[in-house]
């Protein structure tokens, strides 16, 4: 956990530095008596840098109070694959949705995501995917008037 906190502290300090640089390099615009559009972001960036440094110091200096944290479980290669696979499949589905349409993409996505989540391939898996697609499509499109893209390349 110490190593992870050190790395995250460094990354956050870098992010804070970059953000602070953006606030300084932006054109100065303000109303009379207004501290300006970058005043608050500048305070926030400075605060983030300070706290990130404190987070790093907490890990290095033994005397500083260090929170008792339970480190996250180490992910097995299969779990990494499942987690990031699910994220990639979901992001791909969201990206392809406008072009390929909800009715075609959703059952395919659901079956793929269920298999990735550990479900076994059965007829019921495909049936669940089709039923869920239909229920969500009907309720959102016909009841809530949300314009989900129905078919490929409308």
């Amino acid at each position: 956990m110490i190593r992870a906190n050190l790395l995250l502290g460094a990354l956050l300090a870098l992010f804070g530095g970059w953000y602070l640089w953006l606030t300084i390099s932006a054109p100065h615009r303000r109303l009379p008596y207004d501290p300006g559009i970058m005043f608050v972001p500048r305070i926030l960036a400075s605060g983030l840098i300070l706290l990130s440094v404190l987070l790093i110091l907490q890990q290095i200096i033994v005397r500083l109070p260090r929170p008792k944290e339970v480190p996250p479980d180490r992910l097995q290669p299969r779990e990494w694959l499942q987690t990031f696979g699910l994220l990639v499949v979901t992001a791909t589905y969201a990206a392809l949705l406008p072009a390929l349409g909800f009715l075609l993409m959703t059952p395919i996505y659901l079956v793929g995501a269920m298999l990735l989540s550990g479900a076994r391939w059965r007829v019921s898996t495909a049936a669940t995917a089709v039923v869920v697609t239909a229920v969500i499509y009907v309720s959102f499109v016909y009841f809530f008037k949300v314009s989900l893209p129905p078919l490929p390349f409308p």
């Binding site: 608050v40 779990e79 699910l86 992001a91 949705l97 869920v132 969500i136 809530f144």
Partner: protein, 493 residues
Amino acid sequence: MLEHLLIGFQQALQWQPLLAMLVGEVVGILVGAAPGLTVTMAVSLMLPATFVLSPVSAMAMLLGVYTGGFMGNSIPAILIKIPGTPSAAATVFDGYALAQKGEAGKALGVSIIASLYGGLFSLICLVLIAPQLAKIALQFGSAEVFSLLLFGMTIICSFAQHSLVKGIISGLLGLMLVAVGLDPLLGTQRFTFGHVALLQGVSLIPAMIGIFAIPQVLEDLVAKGSQAAETFKPKVSGLLPSWREIRGLFGTFNRASFIGTIIGIIPGTGGPIATFMAYDYERRVSRDPERFGRGAIEGVAASAGADNGVTGGALVPMLTLGIPGDPVTAVMLGALTIQGLRPGPLLFEQHAPFVYGLFASLLLANLLAALMTLWAVRFSVQLLRLPKASLGPVVLLLCIVGSYSIDNSYVDVGTMLVFGLLGFVLQRYRFPTVPVILALVLGASLETNFRRALVESQGDPTVFFTRPISLLFLVLAIASVLAPLRSRHKRAP
């Protein structure tokens, strides 16, 4: 007053207002329970339907949507960790934990009863002391609202139990992300890098959906391993808590309803702030604060009670001053104007039967919403009977459709996914995610009111300390930060 109330009930109990209310309740509960759809949107959608109705029927329909939405929003928050509306975010913390323990029914039952209590409490305040309460709203300028929001931000300290540094870092990250988009006072671009998609800034609801739901789905995936076919097996039989349990929660109901009503009165605040404040206050007064976040029923009661307490509170400035307390009452204000009524001090004198008809409708709407949501819960809990391996992807799909449906925009879907990934990383490395949400909810108003107060006071920073209400909230904010630090210091060996 009694005579006016009787006339009000006579009007509200006719078949037209009751039917309009029933339609409103159905729409409200469904919209509240559907992730991504807001009560404001539902009230706006129903607005054209009110043109052909009488004033009392029109308001009965809109109040039905309003109360139904506030009760229905706890259903997905408790069952699948997706807050139906931003106000239900605080219900997620303990509601979902109870659902995981197999007590989804109990959590939903308490949430509905607390909601009903909050709605009735704020209604009584509205009927009895609306003009006096309206004076409180007039005391709140930009400096007071800023100090109140700053006090609200100190809730971060309560959510950063393990590491205050990490809690504040999370809050700062949220505030920095809120700054993306158009500047709230000048309308000039900030941190948009020339991308049109970033002009609208971070959309709150997709961010909230992503940060709550996606990390949970991914963590469940990792945690359950081979038990993919496992389900939660919710206990639907225990939907209504026992009288003994309800009696034990009366203190919570009163505190939460009071906070919800007061916050509702203040224009520009609203449900999310009230629920976070009520939740935090309940945790502070609890003898066993460690239970909060792990399935404390008081946590569910506090957030749900404050959530619906806002409904009556927000109507106070709308009816007495013509100032809407939140976006929903702004739409209602429009509906009243369309009906030829002009909210303000004269409304109570010139249209007393209508005003009391509205009060009676609000009472009936709260009761009807509670009954209908209790009925709806029996069906919605069945969602948890899906095997976890199927429930996760369905939740992800609802996240995508819910985010998209806010503005029919794929940018919102992208926002949801980015915040989902951020939430997953933060949660894994023990950064609390609630401060990010709190910052997203309060951040924009915090900055706007800070700068507006300075402009109004001609650049005088003492404005925050010289106005009594503002000073009071600043003192409370300092006390709120110091209290956990002091208790931590005491606990340290």
